[in-house]
């Protein structure tokens, strides 16, 4: 537990304002709301602008592979801003999770694929349910620094897909985030009881869009039927490598989702305070009623706490700190719940306007609630922490 920097550097603040300006310009709330009505015209140009024009697709990719060579700290700042704007782009799923998987895999193919992601030529996805946690309580006892065995840990099944021919996959993975936007699928699959990792061309796969609770991150059910696949990793001397790479990707996703949740929560706090400073009832500014002041003060304290938890997770991820597993689950457990509280308060404290389709509060409520369930619920992360910090439950 070194004294990690929990604030923002100047470079990070510059990145924030660049992203914020672009989103203010290209991602207006009305266009995001339209996504729920099936109008996704916003999505592709916005992702192009972020991924290619700003180079965010390659943020985590080293410079010698065509990326920006930045760290998880910068990616976290981007996610805060994407959360604040409820932006419907696959940054988390492609530029964080899939990219981290490929970087961790380290094979020649992985390197080639990473470079194409960094250039914005392709968008990738790790084909797992959006609910998949990096570790579960059952596997978590050995999580930090664990040498992955390659064998399936109890309660931590990583794939629903099987290798049926030499290079053929069959199986169905439901509720996958980022699959619709992707042209490259990274598919964990079982071969002889071990997890392996395959690259699959998305065009060969049946991806059925799901009417999703959060349409700013629309899910898909992915059906693979005798689909041709290329192994990303195939080192017989290191059979656990694929599992390690997959778990590294999920850990990065979990640790950084907390920053998106922080962004969601800060939007809710800021907009609610702004509204209540002008809305009048009973001849007074409503924000002057103490019952509401106290709720907002509590929410402010909560958002400040979420900022500390999210920054700590991002900093631990960036520096490969040995405390990463604890930092990740603490951030997931705290920020997951806090963002939901913030969005629920925003709806309630806006009164009738908070219930309308036109006012964007509902975007944040839906995003917060979906994010809370993603990568393991807060309850699942608390259960994992119990084993990480040696506070076991009641004996049976």
């Amino acid at each position: 537990m070194t004294d990690l920097d929990l604030l923002y550097s100047e470079v990070e603040e510059d990145l924030r304002s660049t992203v914020r300006d672009l989103l203010a310009d290209r991602c207006p709330p009305a266009a995001v709301i339209a996504v729920y009505d099936g109008d996704r015209t916003l999505v592709d140009p916005l992702w192009q602008a972020l991924a290619v024009d700003l180079g965010l697709a390659g943020l985590l990719v080293p410079e010698d592979r065509g990326g920006a060579g930045a760290s998880a700290r910068e990616a976290a700042v981007v996610l805060e801003e994407l959360g604040r704007a409820a932006a419907p782009v696959p940054f988390l799923t492609s530029a964080v999770v899939a990219t981290t998987v490929l970087l961790a895999a380290g094979s020649d193919l992985a390197a080639t694929l990473t470079a194409s992601l960094a250039a914005g030529e392709r968008t990738a996805v790790l084909v797992v349910p959006f609910t998949a946690a990096p570790f579960t309580a059952a596997s978590g006892a050995e999580a930090p620094g664990a040498e992955a065995s390659g064998a399936e840990a109890p309660g931590a099944r990583l794939a629903a897909v099987d290798v049926v021919g030499p290079h053929t996959l069959t199986g169905t993975v439901t509720t996958v985030a980022g699959a619709l936007e992707a042209d490259l699928l990274l598919v964990p699959a079982y071969r002889d009881g071990r997890v392996t990792l395959y690259a699959v061309d998305a065009a060969l796969v049946d991806r059925r869009p799901v009417v999703s609770f959060d349409m700013t991150r629309q899910l898909a059910d992915v059906h693979l039927l005798d689909v041709e696949a290329t192994p990303v990793l195939d080192d017989p001397d290191d059979p656990g490598a694929a599992e390690r790479a997959i778990r590294a990707g999920l850990t990065a996703g979990t640790a950084l989702l907390a920053s998106e949740q922080l962004g969601v929560a800060s939007w809710c706090l800021d907009e609610t305070v702004k509204y209540l400073r002008t809305r009048r009832q009973f001849g007074r500014v409503v924000g002057g009623f103490q019952a509401l002041k106290h709720r907002l003060a509590d929410l402010y304290a909560g958002v400040e706490s979420a900022a500390a938890a999210a920054r700590y997770a991002a900093a631990a991820l960036a520096s490969g700190d040995p405390d990463l597993a604890v930092a990740t689950s603490v951030a997931a457990a705290f920020c997951g719940d806090l963002a939901v509280v913030a969005a629920e308060e925003a709806v309630q404290l806006h009164g009738g306007i908070g219930m309308t389709w036109e006012y964007p509060a509902h975007l944040y409520l839906k995003k917060a609630k979906a994010d809370q369930i993603a990568f393991g619920t807060p309850g699942a992360h608390r259960a994992l922490l119990a084993s990480l910090v040696h506070l076991p439950g009641a004996p049976h």
Binding site: M1, D3, L276, V285, H294, Y300, A308, V326, R382, P392
Partner: protein
């Protein structure tokens, strides 16, 4: 992080200073109380007491973030410390206020014996009619040449029974509205006009007191800040008080959570699923509160704390209260026993050294002392979020004409 080289250079310089100091003052040679005092005074004079304080006053004018390393090096060398628990108000509140508002002469006179623990401080702020509404204090200070004559009654004064000095807020002008007629003093608790009477509290003991001030004489040289500027100085003290609770670098599972977690680990027979859920929620909250405190400390590395520190105290009070309640339930039958209701006047408050029942009861004070949780929420809402202030009937009225 802008300049990691500069930061590393400061760390290296500090390590050299500490090493040189310890070579010249071998902690192994500290045997008697006199040796101990001598050691602490030398450490102060070397600028290694509180490194964030100015040069010449026990510090080196560095950021607060360098302090923990220095303390750790002294502790590792087996050096005596200044018993910080015995002088919490002095170190956490009086010292930063004197450093910020005091004259050179006042800093020279008070800071060294404060840091070494030779002089213990208490806080004479609250009164029967002025608690949350601190600006309403009625204790009068009337000028008599170079001296102020003070009369009034203070209450809830923690540690007054073993204190040498006090920070005091008194009214010097009753014709002005309440916030403007106050002045801040440093009061000698050994003055014959100071009468300290124990006030027994919820735990059975008397940690705090009533203090009656009758014709107490305070030289004008012990006035801190300008006449009439007492509210501003007191606000500085209170902001420090609130961050002194959370804005410290602590390790994981320090404080109440550590006590409960340890009990949990060694007593498997007490565990239930429901308690486990609550414990893990509180563990996460305590860890996040620790990180929030760290983050605040990094923000405050330079400069005076603002109202943001109130958020930490709010969380700290809630978590402590919930944890200490959980601990009693966990202990079950044992939770029904209490160590001792005998009236005593303790020298210090240390949660971890006492039993669970004491912790539960004492933690109730965490949301009252140093500003109640309700007042802290008002502060955050108004000063940080910019929401309208509470309706005030007495703000612009001369204090003498207000309804009290």
């Amino acid at each position: 992080m802008a300049d990691e080289h500069a930061i590393e250079a400061i760390h290296a310089d500090l390590r050299t200073r500490v090493r040189t100091f310890l070579a010249d003052h071998d902690p192994a040679g500290v045997r008697t109380d006199a040796d101990r005092l001598e050691f602490l005074r030398s450490r102060y004079d070397a600028g290694l007491a509180w490194v964030a304080f100015p040069v010449g006053h026990g510090g080196l004018g560095l950021g607060q973030s360098y302090q923990s390393e220095v303390d750790a090096s002294f502790a590792a060398a087996g050096a005596p410390d200044n018993r910080p628990h015995a002088n919490g108000i002095g170190l956490g509140m009086a010292a930063p206020t004197i450093a910020a508002f005091g004259t050179e002469e006042q800093k020279r006179r008070y800071l060294r014996p404060l840091w070494t623990g030779e002089e213990i401080w208490c806080q004479l702020f609250s009164e029967p009619g002025a608690g949350s509404d601190l600006a309403n204090v009625a204790t009068r200070a009337v000028r008599d040449g170079d001296t102020w004559i003070v009369n009034g009654q203070k209450v809830w004064t923690s540690g007054a029974h073993h204190s040498d000095l006090a920070i005091l807020v008194a009214r010097t002008d009753i014709d002005l509205p309440k916030h403007r007629g106050l002045t801040y003093f440093l009061c000698d608790m050994h003055d014959p006009g100071v009468d300290v009477r124990p006030l027994r509290q919820i735990t059975g003991e008397a940690e705090f007191n009533e203090v009656f001030l009758t014709d107490v004489r305070i030289p004008d040289s012990q006035r801190l800040g300008a006449v009439g500027d007492g509210w501003r100085v007191a606000t500085g003290t209170l902001n420090n008080e609130r961050v002194s609770i959370g804005g410290k670098a602590t390790v994981r599972e320090a404080g109440m959570i550590g006590v409960v977690a340890d009990t949990w680990r060694v007593r498997p027979e007490l565990r239930t699923p429901e308690l486990h859920d609550r414990l893990m929620k509180l563990w996460v909250e305590a860890e996040v509160a620790r990180l929030t405190g760290r983050r605040l400390a990094q923000k405050l590395a330079q400069g005076q704390p603002g109202p943001e520190g109130s958020a930490i105290k709010l969380a700290f009070a809630r978590i402590n209260q919930q944890l200490s309640g959980l601990e009693l339930e966990l202990l079950g039958e044992e939770g029904l026993r209490y160590s001792d209701w005998t009236m005593v006047r303790p020298e210090r408050v240390e949660f971890t050294a006492r039993d669970a029942g004491y912790r539960y009861l004492r933690a109730k004070g965490n949301s009252i002392e140093g500003g109640t949780s309700e007042i802290l929420r008002n502060i955050l809402a108004e000063r940080v979020l910019g929401l309208p202030g509470e309706p005030r009937v007495d703000k612009d009225v001369p204090w003498k004409d207000t309804a009290r």
